[in-house]
Amino acid sequence: MEPFEYLEHTADVKFKARGRSLEETFENAALAMLGAMIDPATVKAEETWPIEIESESLEGLLYEWLSEILYLFDVELAVFSRFDVKLEEDEGGWRLSGKVGGERVDPERHFFETEVKAVTLHQFEIKKVAGDGGEEIWTAQVVLDV
């Protein structure tokens, strides 16, 4: 199972993230998003930022998770390379408690490839599908506005 792949889109960045669990799928989606901005090998996970989100739907939760990471990037001027997600479902919807690991932007070492402006809802989709070995996996398709 490839954790994520970038799909062709003329103006923006489109990717499909995969995971054996929803948690892993959320983490891989975050890696795909950050990977569009910067080479993750140049980012040390020195600091940790917590993220707590609730949403009525699973899709809303993923949208907010990725949007929250972009928000942190912008206000903390930090880049991230490690993501850790825990999910819970109850009657009211979904709850995510996560951690993102990274470091403050250092212009000497961090070279950006693209500025991701936002997470769009265009063709936004979370699905459970059969993986290569027949096992069940989750996929998340996301288009980013860059």
Partner: protein, 473 residues
């Protein structure tokens, strides 16, 4: 299948997709149409399914694949039964362009181009996550959201005449700063007075061709003249405002029972609280963007004044190309108030419209079409065809034909810089890697795009400007 209805006019028929309320219409040449992805045509059709849409869902000749609306998309909605959608505005609310004209000739400026670009690069912060030189208070941020460029001028950035030469006078009425989240404020405060990155730029140019002497004179343009173009938007504040309201509107879609072919077209019926709150927040972001371009203009003038006593740099005009606005248009002989969405499209009002500044009113508004990095930009004049065909709208740029991933595989950033340097264009960028994404070859040739709007009498060609120096994020 598209149906050609006239030269440069193609129809997306109602049976292209289930639920279309009106046909689609793409204003484009056969040659440019061949480069339009099928997905773009589907996006034109998707917009045609939205409630209250008037006449047709349109796309300009620079149309290409977007998210929600296509890029180059224009749609108008009736006030009584229409909707407003962030899918028709985008995340970079009031991304736009302004053109400043100098009294300088290119030969006088040529020896100083490197100095000017270096100073502009230094004085106008740019790049991913750039922080401004400016430290604004919460109160000043509110003022920027509420009064846009008018606040910036009062705060010492520019002169009153700048406001006159700005779409909406640099201030969209109806802004509601109380609909701007704390997150959007936190992103917006340090970024006021920054260019950003991606396709945004600050360019020193020379007028290299005049197409219409009379109109050029009216716009204060002459051959060999130095101009400056500023292309940027509402930065993180706008991105966050759209992100926040998209979630609210996604819920509104369920609440009001609207069926959508694409979730990014989330919308609410005009007049509902969700629609009004989005409009108020979007207007706040639009004003922030006008304040941003106004501040950057003031710093640009400072740089030029360091080297030239008579630089002047008067504002020709400032246009928004990602925005939704209430405008009066004639539909089937009757005047109607419509909410016009322009996603990667420029307002191009023809002669006589009261929204146009007095000095241009009898000829039509200046329409500024930025080229891609290293390619010519165009100044046009809004014309009568726009009022008849496109709710007073024209293209906004060249239009992408190659994806960013493909561009990076094909061109290296440093190589792009070398090519431009050899052509005599001085380029400075915070992130050389990003130059590859914006290589001139990844866009449609802008002259072909501009010729379509000229030939349809949407906007007439006035002048062409070519870059001499570029500062980029």
């Amino acid at each position: 299948m598209l149906k050609k209805v006239d030269d440069y006019v193609f129809e997306v028929p109602m049976d292209h997709q289930k639920g279309m309320r009106v046909p689609g219409r793409i204003f484009i040449s056969d040659k440019l149409l061949a480069q339009v992805e099928p997905g773009t045509i589907d996006q034109v059709a998707n917009v045609a399914t939205l409630p209250g849409i008037v006449k047709c869902s349109m796309a300009m000749p620079d149309a290409h694949l977007g998210y929600g609306f296509p890029i180059g998309g224009v749609a108008a909605f009736r006030e009584e039964d229409g909707v407003i959608s962030p899918g028709g505005v985008g995340f970079d609310i009031n991304c736009g362009v302004r053109l400043l004209r100098s009294d300088l000739r290119s030969e006088d400026v040529a020896p100083m181009i490197s100095n000017l670009v270096e100073d502009l690069f230094h004085d106008v912060p740019s790049g991913v996550g750039a922080k401004g030189r400016l430290r604004v208070s919460e109160h000043e941020l509110d003022e920027a959201f509420t009064r846009g460029a008018a606040w910036a001028v009062e705060a010492g950035f520019g002169v009153d005449e700048d406001l006159e030469h700005c779409e909406e006078n640099g201030r969209l009425e109806g802004a509601m700063p109380n609909q701007v989240s704390l997150k959007a404020r936190k992103r917006g405060r340090p970024q006021l007075g920054t260019l950003g990155s991606g396709n945004h730029f600050l360019e020193i140019q020379k007028v290299d061709r005049i197409f219409d002497e009379d109109l050029a004179k009216r716009f204060g343009l002459f051959e060999g003249q130095i101009t400056v173009m500023i292309h940027c938007g509402s930065r993180g504040a706008g991105h966050q405002i759209c992100t926040d309201h998209l979630q609210v509107l996604s819920k509104a879609v369920k609440k009001y029972g609207i069926e959508l072919p694409d979730k990014q077209l989330a919308c609410a019926p005009l007049g509902t609280p969700e629609a009004e709150n989005y409009f108020g927040a979007m207007a706040a972001a639009a004003n922030y963007a006008w304040a941003n371009r106004q501040i950057i203009s003031a710093w640009t003038r400072e740089v030029f004044e360091r080297y030239f006593d008579n630089a002047k740099l008067d504002l020709v005009y400032d246009v928004a190309h990602n925005i939704a606005k209430a405008e009066e248009h004639t539909v089937d002989g009757l005047k109607e108030r419509l909410y016009v969405h322009r996603k990667g499209a420029t307002r191009a009002f023809g002669p006589g419209r009261p929204e146009i500044p007095m000095v241009y009113r009898d000829v039509g508004q200046p329409v500024i079409i930025p080229g891609s990095m290293g390619t010519p930009s165009y100044v046009l004049c809004g014309s009568r065809g726009a009022m008849k065909l496109t709710f007073g709208s024209a293209c906004h740029g060249a239009g992408r034909i190659m994806s960013r991933t493909q561009a990076k595989k094909t061109y290296a950033g440093t190589e792009v810089k070398d090519v431009l340097t050899r052509r005599g264009i001085k380029v400075m960028a915070t992130s050389p890697k990003m130059l590859a994404e914006e290589a001139p070859e990844v866009y449609k040739p802008s002259d072909e795009v501009v010729d379509v709007v000229h030939n349809l009498d949407i906007a007439r060609k006035v002048a062409r400007v070519v870059p001499l120096g570029v500062s980029k994020g």
